[in-house]
Symmetry: C2
Subunit: 431 residues, 2 copies
């Protein structure tokens, strides 16, 4: 996260990171009050302005990004990281378009739902309101700066954004665009604050200020997420492993089963919703595994299987206990033949990560059981696990994917950045 060539932080600032962060928190809290009551039109005006400014300032953003890339190469960042860091013209346009799409989403704030008449005479309902101040901690991708800022702004929250040191110049160039958009729309410039220092202590301070920060969302590798959760004194929306399963049941339609099992593994290898373990009902294994083995073989996917799998797919190597728990994020797949839905659910509950799991079957009773009994943030029937995504679910965009159960599970969109307060309407009513 902190390559040695990162831009130097002025000494005076690092001497008092606590003071620096508390000042950011205080400003964010004040801005949050204004944003919470901002009109939808005003928030959208700021977002449309931001979308335009990002395009207008593309050259400046690219210049800042070029400096980050140059330092990154000198620091020998790996190719994948440099790729994530890069902002070319296409990516800047995509970033601007993403902000515009968020402007076009319905405003969740102020929605009043379930207003019910109570026997006492009062009416009781709930109003959707912002969480307040959202802290986002992320790594190399600078487009997260615009994306997270837009989602927080639309949902009426103030944001404190702490990106990776390798992307600092790019993030600050985008931050200047955000600041202009906010002030152009008459909103507080502190509504979105991008930290201009990236000392690791900014993270530990941010997650320990419950008086200023209502929730922290770490977007990055497991190490970052676990470290944030460990130190946190504020709620965290955290995304840990995605050990996703597809279970092909005896009553599966073979064609659908093959299509889903292939897509769930091979459409993209590095995503959290990619299948990592395929479970196949013993009753159908002979009819489905040889064909799948051939297709995976052609795609270059290594199979690690149980004994029965290895009889049906000769190229498969033996799976160890560890394989059932592993998120490969690579062209490797664990395959296990199981005795029906009970064994499948037992396997998923024992080894899975409660992220996304799918059943392929035409059997109503088994669908009902799988949906109810598999305790994952997404449970699917006859669909590829790759659909577990904020855009596919219709959230418009996602700020993260929660693998926790509290508050929100699975893809978290604008609604996940809000909460419900109670509204009571009376006419002089007393108890």
């Amino acid at each position: 996260m902190s390559p040695p060539s990162a831009p130097k932080t002025p000494k005076a600032k690092t001497d008092s990171i606590t003071a620096y962060m508390r000042e950011r928190g205080e400003k964010a809290r004040a801005a949050a009050r204004v944003l919470a009551r901002a009109e939808t039109g005003t928030k959208n005006a700021a977002l449309f302005a931001l979308s335009k400014i990002l395009i207008d300032e593309a050259a400046e953003i690219q210049a800042a990004n070029a400096a980050d890339l140059r330092d990154g190469r000198a620091a020998k960042l790996d190719d994948a990281m440099l790729d994530r860091l890069e902002l070319n013209g296409d990516r800047i346009r995509a970033m601007a378009e993403g902000v515009r799409e968020i402007a076009n989403l319905p405003d969740p704030v102020g929605e009043l739902c379930e207003l019910k008449q109570r026997p006492s005479g009062i009416q009781v309902g709930r109003m959707r309101v912002p969480l307040g101040v959202v802290g986002i901690i992320y790594e190399s991708r600078p487009n997260v700066t615009a994306d997270a800022a837009a989602l927080c702004l639309k949902s009426g929250n103030a944001a404190i954004l702490r990106g990776g040191s390798e992307a600092l110049r790019s993030n600050l160039a985008i931050a200047r665009c955000i600041e202009r958009a906010l002030t152009d729309a008459g909103l507080p410039r502190d509504g979105v604050q991008v930290l201009d220092i990236t000392d690791r202590r900014t993270v530990t301070e941010m997650v320990a200020m419950p008086e200023y920060v209502d929730v922290v969302i770490p977007r990055g590798g497991k190490g970052l997420v676990a470290a944030v959760a460990e130190a946190a004194r504020v709620p965290v929306i955290k995304h840990l492993d995605g050990v996703c399963h597809v279970y092909i049941d005896a009553d599966a339609d073979l064609e659908k089963a093959v299509a889903i099992a292939v897509n769930a593994k091979t459409q993209r290898y590095g995503t959290c919703n990619t299948m990592e373990t395929l479970l196949v009902d013993r009753a159908i294994a002979e009819r489905v595994l040889p064909e799948l083995g051939r297709i995976y073989g052609e795609a270059g996917v290594e199979i690690r299987g149980c004994a029965q799998t290895r009889r049906l797919i000769p190229e498969a190597i033996p799976a160890t206990e560890e394989d059932w728990r592993t998120e490969y994020l690579a062209p490797v797949l664990a395959v296990r033949v199981v005795d029906g839905i009970d064994a499948a659910i037992e396997h998923i509950e024992t080894y899975g990560s409660h992220h996304t799991d799918a059943i392929v079957t035409e059997n109503y009773g088994k669908i009902r059981r799988f949906l109810r009994e598999v305790d994952s943030s997404s449970v699917m029937v006859n669909a590829s696990t790759r659909f577990a995504d904020g855009y596919e679910y219709g959230l418009g965009a996602e700020i993260g994917i929660s693998t926790d159960k509290f508050h929100a599970r699975g893809p978290v969109g604008l609604e996940g950045l809000t909460t419900l307060k109670w509204v009571v309407l009376g006419d002089g009513h007393v108890r």
Copy 2:
């Protein structure tokens, strides 16, 4: 919380409280899987059985309670605590009736909502599911044991209940009833575990086992709640101060204003939804404060007021800055004359605790602003703050009142013990 005469804990157990708590956690996690998929009828059968067993075993419960009371008196517990500890016949019947009412509430689990067709062809919706394992930490009232067990069971959660040492025998007598009800209904006896040791470390261990406990709800004094929040590594639904306001606006109906201001303060003094500060618009102060002063005086309520208040209520003593932040829980009221709704909202946001705040006015624009801009878990119009309560809101019962924003705000009922997971229905769909 731990009077010296509390029943002694066997030494072998306290030597390994960590092991004791982890064993409870493991059992709870296993029971939670069974409860999550239990049929509504089965859960209700257990609750109806419990309601009946509590009545059948009333004599045994009262005998255990008599022993707790005797020790409590010997330990010189104060009268209020002894009163909370006591379980007489009426209270046992009320406890049994409460359990029956929870059985009659709709089952929140399994509800499938908002199933929408997506452009990709899949259908996406959300299913309400239990949180998993709920830890409840409470003090003297033994009826919480039955109440919390019933709410957790109905919502498909396993529960670990840790009551106060002064109520240990009473709690364990109720626990035996719960265990019988669970096993009679064919549900796992570990579905509700009442800790039989009350060492303080059971609390610190419970809140530090995220692998076994999904949420902790401390029900008790500020000290307990703050200590739990400080040590917690799991989510906490916490209830801190209730510094509630009523704001009487210039456009208030005088009769309603007086009724609400009197009821909000004097109906009960010791509850968290009791008004602690009355704000009065300067334009109406002369017409409303003298009458209120007279009524409060008759009720024995001490007034601490600003200069203008003291001119209109001669008996009032001067309010200090500290008064605006104080939850008296007593016949004491802070009163401040303010310049209109802006000053009222500013006061509430500066000094309030975001619990429950009410406006009295007939003015539509001001109602709209107050509802939107006051960032409290309950905001009310022309109604007494005393309505902020799970029963009054129609939740049936409440497991706690959240003063946090994350997950749930205000009274938390069965729904607050659940979360939503995503359900995807396809027919062979791939990306």
